[in-house]
């Protein structure tokens, strides 16, 4: 599977049907992803990997954590993504290494979710329904709290509200407002046009704002 050319949610394929047990430690997840001989590379690949991928490990982990919703899962996903990145270092065509790494992490996250938690991805499959149900900007029945109220949001409440966003909105918001990518990079990572990035971001923020206003303790 060529991870570099993957764009969009629908082209993310998965290897096997869902299996019940979640591989947690390295002794399970390495053979799952590392085909025989993959790890046998020269020093060049390792050097390239170290300069392209390792500086972005923190961000890779953060994105995986937001997409899987779980720290243990995020570790497995990052390891899987790093192996994919390692195998693909030769095909990195320049540009932003950070966006490239996050693209692979995003792909690995969704592959992992499909395999282990298919139910968590229903919203991704129904993306078009979500988008069309939201065709009117600004959710007519949503409350629009004052900015003073938003500013009082507690960390736990904020984290729960972001976690509750549908995946396409959540990833766009996290990439922009948590990780600080610009629109062009987000379009690259999520494989959608820039206009879609903009509308998803606006919808994600409006949903978040409505949630924060509605259920402030």
């Amino acid at each position: 599977m060529n991870v570099v050319t993957i764009h969009g949610d629908r082209q993310v394929s998965y290897d096997k049907p869902a299996s019940g047990d979640r591989p947690r430690d390295a002794s399970h997840s390495i053979p799952r992803t590392g085909k025989s001989g993959d790890a046998v590379r020269g020093d060049d690949e390792n050097t390239r990997f170290a300069s392209l991928v390792l500086p972005h490990l923190g961000e890779a982990y953060s994105l995986a954590r937001w997409l899987t919703g779980n720290r243990t899962d995020a570790e497995d996903v990052v390891q899987d993504a790093c192996l994919r990145a390692f195998r693909a270092t030769g095909s990195f065509a320049g540009g932003s290494a950070r966006a490239w790494v996050l693209t692979i992490v995003r792909h690995s996250s969704y592959a992992w979710l499909r395999k282990n938690r298919p139910t968590a991805l229903v919203v991704v499959e129904d993306l078009e329904a979500v988008e069309s149900a939201q065709a009117n900007p600004g959710d007519p029945d949503a409350e629009t709290p004052e900015s003073e109220l938003i500013a009082k949001t507690e960390a736990a409440h904020l984290e729960a509200a972001i976690s509750a966003l549908p995946a396409p909105f959540r990833e766009t918001l996290v990439l922009r407002d948590v990780q600080g990518l610009d629109y062009r990079e987000i379009a690259e990572v999520t494989g959608v046009p820039m206009g879609t990035v903009m509308s998803r971001l606006a919808r994600a923020r409006r949903r978040l704002i409505a949630t924060l206003g509605r259920s402030q303790p």
Binding site: A26, V40, E45, F49, G58, V78, I150, D182, M198, A202
Partner: protein, 256 residues
């Protein structure tokens, strides 16, 4: 695919304005519209409040300490020890241990004070590269309360950021440079037409040191150590101005 225009959906442009994505003409158009449109202005206030609360209150996810070693172990060249499907966990555990040992050694080497010219060379290269890039910075802001949080989540420890605008050294932004294999924060300040790159390299255990002057490839470089951090300041401006900048940075308060 074209971007929406102000006529299509002005709220999208308010978001883009807050994200720093608009060219000056569109930014001006949004500013004018905000001044006269209460609905848009309210959206602006809410989104700005949301961005601020995410920036200041959302806990940053820091990778667990073993992750890097685990990843390096996974990609390290290994003998083909796996004829059938099942791996030998003993071999794997051993390789992780060895790798963790090696990796911790290499981390130490990268963080320990290296020959100064080696680090200096990498940092000057970062400065020169940044001057050739379209943008010398990854995050553009004169507000240190925006620049400092940007580093959180990207590197383990955000650098000390101080406001020197009143001394004629306004903050321009920040970026990440890589020294050895370690991403390090660089702050960019401006003085008249000159840019100053200030890179902070972890140097835990090193005693504070006074300013040391280097001259690398035509650039004035100053190095000093404060509180376990080695600072490298470089610019093409005069040595006297750079010295003044370093003194101001060292003595300025990073609170308020």
């Amino acid at each position: 695919m074209t971007r929406p225009t102000l006529q299509d959906d002005p709220t999208l442009l308010v978001h883009a304005y807050l994200d720093g994505e608009l060219d000056p003409i569109n930014a001006l158009a949004v500013e004018q519209r905000l001044a006269s449109d209460a609905v848009l202005a309210a959206e602006y206030e809410r989104v700005q409040a949301l961005q601020q609360v995410i920036r200041e209150r959302l806990p940053r996810e820091v990778p667990p300490p073993g992750l890097r070693a685990r990843v390096e172990a996974a990609v390290r060249p290994q003998p083909r020890w796996r004829p059938a499907g099942q791996p030998s966990w003993r071999a794997l555990a051993a390789s992780i241990l060895v790798t963790a040992f090696v990796a911790s050694g290499s981390t130490w080497m990268a963080l320990a004070p290296r020959p100064a010219d080696q680090v200096g060379g990498a940092i000057v290269a970062g400065h020169i590269r940044s001057l050739m890039a379209p943008q010398p910075i990854d995050i553009a802001s004169s507000d240190r309360h925006t620049v400092k949080p940007w580093f959180n989540g990207r590197i383990p420890q955000a650098p000390r950021v101080v406001d020197l605008a009143k001394d004629d050294f306004p903050l321009v932004g920040g970026r990440l440079d890589v020294v050895g294999r370690i991403p390090v924060p660089t702050l960019v300040y401006r003085h008249a037409k000159h840019l100053i790159s200030l890179t902070a390299v972890p140097a835990s255990g090193s005693a504070n040191s006074p300013l040391v002057v280097h001259r690398v490839e035509g650039y004035n470089v100053l190095r000093w150590i404060d509180d376990g951090v080695a600072y490298w300041a470089m610019s093409d401006m005069s040595a006297a101005d750079l010295d003044r900048f370093a003194q101001l940075f060292r003595t300025a308060s990073s609170d308020q």
